[in-house]
Symmetry: none
Subunit: 301 residues, 2 copies
DNA sequence: TGCGCCCATAACCTTCGCTTATTGCCTTTG
DNA sequence: CAAAGGCAATAAGCGAAGGTTATGGGCGCA
């Protein structure tokens, strides 16, 4: 059974005769006749009785017709989709991002991107960094947006912007009066932050604390900075996390710069062993534009 | 685009390589390779990038895959249906019936039939007798159940049961007190009945009235006896119609035998120019059983 | 460096789907 | 009643699709 046989069977049922079906399909009458016979011999039963030189659908034909018609329409719809793709009218952008990026940059970047490419579908996978890396390697996503560089043989990364670490606390916290927070300020407070084994940033923070003569004693260890929100709100401590998330947007929280400055990097990574989607460069431009806009806005408030 | 191309595309996506797809489809690797290339060239875009000798799905492939998979499954389901039909596991019984038959015998007969053939689908066409005849001749129905014999060259009919004519009136009609109704009783009443030109029964009734010295003056002429229900209820007259319909079931109506007895025939007709569907005999048995049951029930109430 | 895996190509064959030309059956019509 | 017209089937032939086996080349890995 193939698509052509279905199409021809459907046309004969609809038009009532081989000749009429041949006309509406714009082929010769013998062509239709032969395909029909072939179809019948494959099925093992007649679809039409030949009575007085005319075709009369059998019980079997009536049983098949509804489903055949529906399936054929589905095939037509699929052909349409294939054509639409060929005309570049639809596209697909598969993004892997860690939670802090999703909750900060991404909406703005997608807004800009979709303004210029409204026809592109987006698959967004918000996952822990390790999973993002895995998805990138197996090709389930076109690129990754994370807060630390992905290290793998075929992965190419570009750093988009530095992100200073910040201290996040309740608005009624004594530390909220300070304009910046040092390791000493945090010395006797329960600390909510990345673990020492968290790639890049963990050891770096340990180092900074050590140079100030303070041990970084992480009371509650995070895999994603967003997890800090309810903890800080609930009074479980002060969080030392990335400054990418707009912490001030969350009720009752304030964020203060951490001193000395410690930077994380927003980076975008592609897998060079995979085809780059045509929409990667446009998206990259969107996100860079967004970062420029924000920088400008900060310089000239 | 055809079914085979979809099947092969789907298998490559699922299995991850041309070789694996060829294995699971039980064909040679070059066969799959060639169909894929052909498919891509028809589509006008690549579905896979060839990176270090491996196939990597492109954005376009991801866009197509979900729909292609679904459509292919539908085709498989259709093939299954075709096979099931070939194995005689499903069937179809296309019945044409006039309204009085539909509203009386049919439900009971179908109930019996489906008890023994639950796998057979039924298409029921309730139509005026002339249309039933036409559908039978063009083969749109397998047989016809009507209240008068169909006369046509290739049509073979069997009479199932006689049906006496009855007079139908409101329960508060003076005639309701009688045990049977004669032409004289109806002489001065507006009559709701079949026209004189209605085959068989029209002239026969005219004849009976004439022999009683009464002219049969039809006040409202029916094509189907069921149309009499609202008319009699509304007080527009007395109906002289078939006794097949259970008139007493309709609120406020009663039926009385007409004397002298005039019989119509329930007949079942097939078109001998077509082979009979294999479910005709079983259905015939069902309806005869039903008629026997009813007869027995009447004799021994 | 050699082996194994994977994809592409070549050469060849059969089947499918199409064409035009023609035949035969049946119905319609003058 | 015979001629005309409509419809399906068949014949002969052609190109493309889809299958085979054999072979070659790129890449990763021991």
């Amino acid at each position: 059974m193939n698509a052509r046989q279905l199409e021809i069977f459907r046309a004969i049922m609809r038009d009532g005769s081989v000749t009429a079906a041949a006309n509406s399909l714009a082929v010769s009458q013998p062509a239709v006749s032969k395909v029909l016979h072939h179809f019948e011999s494959q099925l093992g039963y007649q679809l039409f009785e030949r009575i007085s030189g005319r075709l009369v659908p059998t019980m079997e034909a009536h049983l098949l017709y509804d489903d055949a018609d529906r399936v054929f329409r589905e095939i037509e719809a699929l052909k349409n989709l294939a054509r639409t793709i060929a005309e570049r009218k639809v596209g697909l952008l598969r993004i892997g991002a860690s939670a802090p990026v999703t909750y900060s940059l991404l909406a703005g970047a997608l807004l800009k991107f979709r303004a210029e490419h409204p026809q592109v579908k987006v698959h967004l996978h918000t996952l822990p960094k390790a999973d993002v890396e895995e998805q990138l390697l197996i090709g389930e996503i076109d690129f990754a947006l994370t807060l630390s560089t992905i290290q793998a043989p075929t992965v190419r990364s570009e750093i988009l912007a530095p992100v200073p670490m910040m201290a996040v606390m309740r608005h009624d916290d004594p530390l909220a009066d300070k304009t910046e927070i040092t390791p000493h300020d945090l010395a006797d407070r329960p600390l909510i932050s990345y673990g020492s084994t968290t790639a890049d940033i963990g050891p770096e923070l340990d180092n900074v604390f050590e140079q100030s003569g303070v041990k970084r004693d992480v009371s509650i260890q995070l895999s994603s900075s967003l997890g800090a929100i309810p903890l800080v709100s609930g009074g479980l401590g002060v969080a030392l996390v990335d400054g990418l998330v707009k912490w001030g947007n969350f009720e009752g929280l304030v964020a203060r710069p951490f001193s000395p400055t410690v930077l994380m990097d927003i980076s975008i990574s592609t897998n060079s062993a995979r085809p780059v989607t045509r929409f990667f460069r446009p998206f990259l431009k969107s996100i860079k534009d967004l970062l420029n806009d924000e920088e400008t806005a900060q310089v000239q408030p």
